[in-house]
Each structure stands twice: as structure tokens, then as C-alpha cells.
Symmetry: C2
Subunit: 301 residues, 2 copies
């Protein structure tokens, strides 16, 4: 699981700070999460292959989370993309994009498939053989979802030495990975567990931005490996958090602690502060596994 932070600041893009966007690589997928203005430029800077992005998840329709989307869609068109592109986001996102395509007389030559979200309950919005993606209903000034990416339990792994010693025909390997007992070449029954190892532990990632402190999300993200939770403010501006429906670093840590997250990643910092260390220090008072998002930082979990 690899996470590239393209931008992690709130409000407006500046010369040295980008608004929210992340690329999550998990189970052979490359998911784009939020798409602030300039995201396509940051994708280029990081040499991320545009064509590998097939799913874009937009948390809400504030500009710092989606003003780069229409430009990205338009650039995909100019690059003569043919692969389908799925967009998950709040109701209205399709109208915004298609209105601009209509007025520019620039329809895409690839399929652009919108999945407009309206539910205020967590729902499964994407699933294939290896992963599930759920919404995490958040509490912000407008309709907002976080997203939970959850790998499925994979196949058992072959213990190659044991398999060879047991003289099993290669045609049975798939059955073994699926957990079945099989027959060896000489006809004896081989118990699955004697020749296979447990599957790799499935990983999970939760993206929660923007939101006020909301304990209701704890059961949804319970025991998530990595939790990105917005931390717009430090304690000295804690009074602004409920007013603007954002969170403080300490509140993010409280959610991480209650959810027993493996790691808390802070982000969506207000640009009023000079540095980021205070965010980490304040969160560490509550929860002991904290990292800072930073524009351009790459995490491998």
C-alpha cells in the first residue's frame, strides 16, 4: 500500500502549498482521492502514469477538494485516453463537469462514468475481487464523505518447498491457494495447511476530510491500518473548529485512538501556521502513532 500526498493544505492553493489530493496504490489499483486545483500538474511532477488512474473519489464540492477535476478530465481527453474513468462524488458533480464539456464542445472520447452519492449512511461504492471501498459520512458545511479502502482476505500462499516435497501436480496449485486439500501424484491426501501459508494480512486506509469531530465514524473505521484525518487547526484556534466544521489535531488523535487505528496521518492544515511540528506534538499527547502529511511525501505501508 503506497500513498502519495499531492497536496494537504486547506482553503487555497499557494506558491508552495497545494490543496487536497492523494494517490493511493493498493491491490493493483491507483485511486485518486480528491483533486484540488493543479492536481494534474502535481501528478506530472511525481511522474504518476495518468492512465493507471481509473477511479477518482471526491469527498465534497468545496473548491480545494475538486477544482482540479475538470482540468484532469479534459487533459485525459487531450491525451486520447480510451480507458473508462469512474468518478465518485456528491450529487451535482456530473452537472458541473458536463456543463463545462458542453460549453467547450469537448466531450471525452473515453467513458466517463459518474457515481453520484447522496446517502448519509456508510455504503459500499466499489468492489472487485481484491478490494472494497466504502463511504464514511462526515459532518462538514456541505454534504461530505470520507472513503474507506479495504483489501479483501487474499488467497493462501504456497509453501513452495513443502508443495514440492509432497509431489503435488502443478494443476492443483490454484485449489491449494483457495484452501482445498488435494491428492499428491501417488494418490495420497495432502492436508491444505501442511503445504500452504496464511494469506498476507489485508490492509486498509481511511481518508477523512473535511469534518468536524464526529465519533459516529469510529465503528466504520475500526482498526483501520492507516487513518488520514483532517486537522485544520491547532489547540489555540480550537474555537474555530466547530464553527467552520473542521477538526483540531487533538480531535483527529481522539478519533484515531477510539478507532484503534494503526497509524494517524494528519493533514488539511490551515495555512495560517508557520510550521507543522505543533500539529504532531498536539496529536501525540492523545495518540502515539502519528505522522504528518506533507506535499510530495510518499508513504509505503
Amino acid at each position: 500500500m503506497k500513498l502519495t500526498i499531492l497536496g494537504c493544505y486547506s482553503a487555497t492553493p499557494r506558491a508552495l502549498t497545494n490543496t487536497t489530493s492523494q494517490v493511493l496504490e493498493i491491490s493493483n489499483h491507483m485511486f485518486l482521492i480528491d483533486c484540488g486545483e493543479g492536481t494534474q500538474i502535481h501528478l506530472r511532477k511525481h511522474k504518476i502514469k495518468f492512465n493507471r488512474i481509473k477511479h477518482v473519489f471526491i469527498s465534497h464540492l468545496h473548491g480545494d477538494h475538486f477544482f482540479g477535476l475538470v482540468g484532469l478530465i479534459s487533459t485525459f481527453r487531450l491525451l486520447t485516453r480510451e480507458t473508462d474513468l469512474h468518478i465518485y462524488g456528491p450529487l451535482g458533480i456530473k452537472e458541473i463537469v458536463t456543463l463545462q464539456m458542453k460549453l467547450a464542445d469537448s466531450w471525452t472520447n473515453y467513458n466517463l462514468i459518474f457515481h453520484e452519492l447522496t446517502s448519509t449512511e456508510s455504503e459500499l461504492i466499489f468492489e472487485d475481487e481484491s478490494i472494497e471501498v466504502y463511504t464514511i459520512p462526515l459532518d462538514h458545511r456541505i454534504y461530505t464523505n470520507g472513503f474507506l479502502f479495504k483489501e479483501k482476505e487474499g488467497d493462501r500462499r504456497l509453501d513452495i518447498d513443502a508443495v514440492e516435497d509432497a509431489n503435488i501436480n502443478i494443476a492443483y496449485y490454484r485449489k491449494l491457494k483457495q484452501g482445498f486439500d488435494v491428492l499428491s501424484e501417488d494418490g495420497s491426501l495432502i492436508k491444505n495447511k501442511t503445504v500452504t501459508l496464511p494469506s498476507a494480512k489485508p490492509k486498509s486506509y481511511a481518508f477523512c476530510s473535511d469534518t468536524t469531530y464526529k465519533e459516529d465514524i469510529v465503528p466504520i473505521i475500526n482498526k483501520v491500518d492507516v487513518l488520514y484525518h483532517e486537522s485544520t487547526f491547532l489547540e489555540k484556534h480550537a474555537n474555530l473548529a466547530p464553527k467552520t466544521k473542521h477538526s483540531t489535531a487533538k480531535e483527529a488523535a481522539r478519533i484515531a485512538k477510539k478507532a484503534k487505528a494503526g497509524l494517524l496521518l494528519l493533514g488539511h492544515y490551515s495555512t495560517r501556521y508557520d510550521g507543522l511540528n505543533a500539529f504532531k506534538e498536539e496529536a501525540l499527547e492523545i495518540f502515539d502513532r502519528v505522522e504528518l502529511s506533507e506535499d510530495g511525501k510518499v508513504f509505503e505501508f
Copy 2:
């Protein structure tokens, strides 16, 4: 007259090349012309005071000319702007912006005044005591206008030594600047031309992007001081120009020559080329006063 090129490349913003946007300072105005994605970031990089921009002119609704507009409007709101903002652009631009403000529940606290353009004839769209702005109907794949900025003849300038020698009361200075004869302190008639100098020569700037070669614009931009004319292609791709409704560097030079422009500024380069020198060389074969736009370049005329 000062022109800052924020971006001058076509199609899509890249790590090192920006799409179209310019700031023209003329007659105490700061006009923003086109607004590709990331324009607000480039304004910050150039330390241009956001609040001085009161008029934005959008040539057409292709993304490389206006995808930065909604972000700029949104940032003005976050900066608690109070000054009116006038947007001049094709019909539909208001719907695009207001739809996004509605869905974000983020109406501006300043007046946002749209002037939607539909005419295919050149028209006066802005005027005050010192300047006029006209549209220049262009021929592109969708409805597109260039813009002509034309200073008005200013007041005559006082010849201070002559005025003092003639013993004229300071209360008459304004009348002198307006071209009137006045009385001296001792009652004699002072002819205006004996104590004033002609006004500074009014300047003009024409912005023409995007367009195929279109001679019809020549009378509109006749004798313009500075002509920015798009030059997407070099001669080796001249066949692409009519197809995509763009121009070559030579075609831009032909327009400049026919219009007797003081200077031709090239721009809107296709990103397929490695350098820009060939654009200048090809244009110079037709017209001898040519400069290259480059991202970040500032021209003072």
C-alpha cells in the same frame, strides 16, 4: 503599459509550462486576460495584488483559458474581498461559476458582475475616462473573442516653466490641461499652446487567442502598439492550423504586418516543440518586430 505573462502555452498545464493568462497594467487598471488552471498560484508567485484586479476578460470556454477562474473567484471570497469583480466572457460563463458556488454553498461576499458576450461583431464592452476595451471576434472551434485595450487621448501636459513665467493662477491648471486658454494674474489672455505640451501618446494592446488566420480582424487592430497573436504551430505543422482553428507563427506575423502593429508578441505555443526560437525566426521572415511570450516574462511598453 506593463504586461506580465503568467502562462503562454496551449492545451494542458505541465510542470514547467502554464496555460494562458496575462496581467495587463494600463491607465491605472490591472486587467486579467484569460485564466488557465493555476492562475491564482502564478499571481501569487509574481506578488500581484489580487485586489487590484477588478476586471477579468475570458476569450473562450476551453479549459486552458478559464479553468482557473472559479478558483480565483473562490479565493477572492476567502480573502474577504469587498471590491466588485467584473467578468467578461462568452455566454455560459455565469452558469458555470454560479453552479459551482451554489453546490459549494459558497456565495461571494463581493459583487460578482458577469458581462456575457454573444456578438460576432466587435463591440465596446468597457469604458471609463481613460480607456476603452473592445472585443475582437476570432475564428476558433467555439465562440471566441480577443480583446483590444485602447487608451484615450489624455489631458495636455503643463509646460511648468512656461506656466510659471506666464504668471497663471494655480486654479486654472485644470483648464489648461483640458486645452482651454486662460487669463494670467495681470489679466492678459494666455493661449493654451504656449504653456502646454501635447498629451502622452495613448497606447493600445490587442490580445488575439485562439484563432485561425483571420484577416477580418485587421481593421479592428489597425496600428495597435502591441499585438499578442497566438502562434500554436510552426510551418512544419501548418496543415494542423486550419484543422484545429489555430495559427502558425508566420500567420501571426502576416496579421501583424497587415495591421501595421508596433510589435508582435507570439504565444499559445504547442507543447510538442522543444524550444521557442523557431517561432520567432519564422515570424521574422514576414514581420520585423517580434518578441516571444514566455511564462513569467514582464514587458514594459
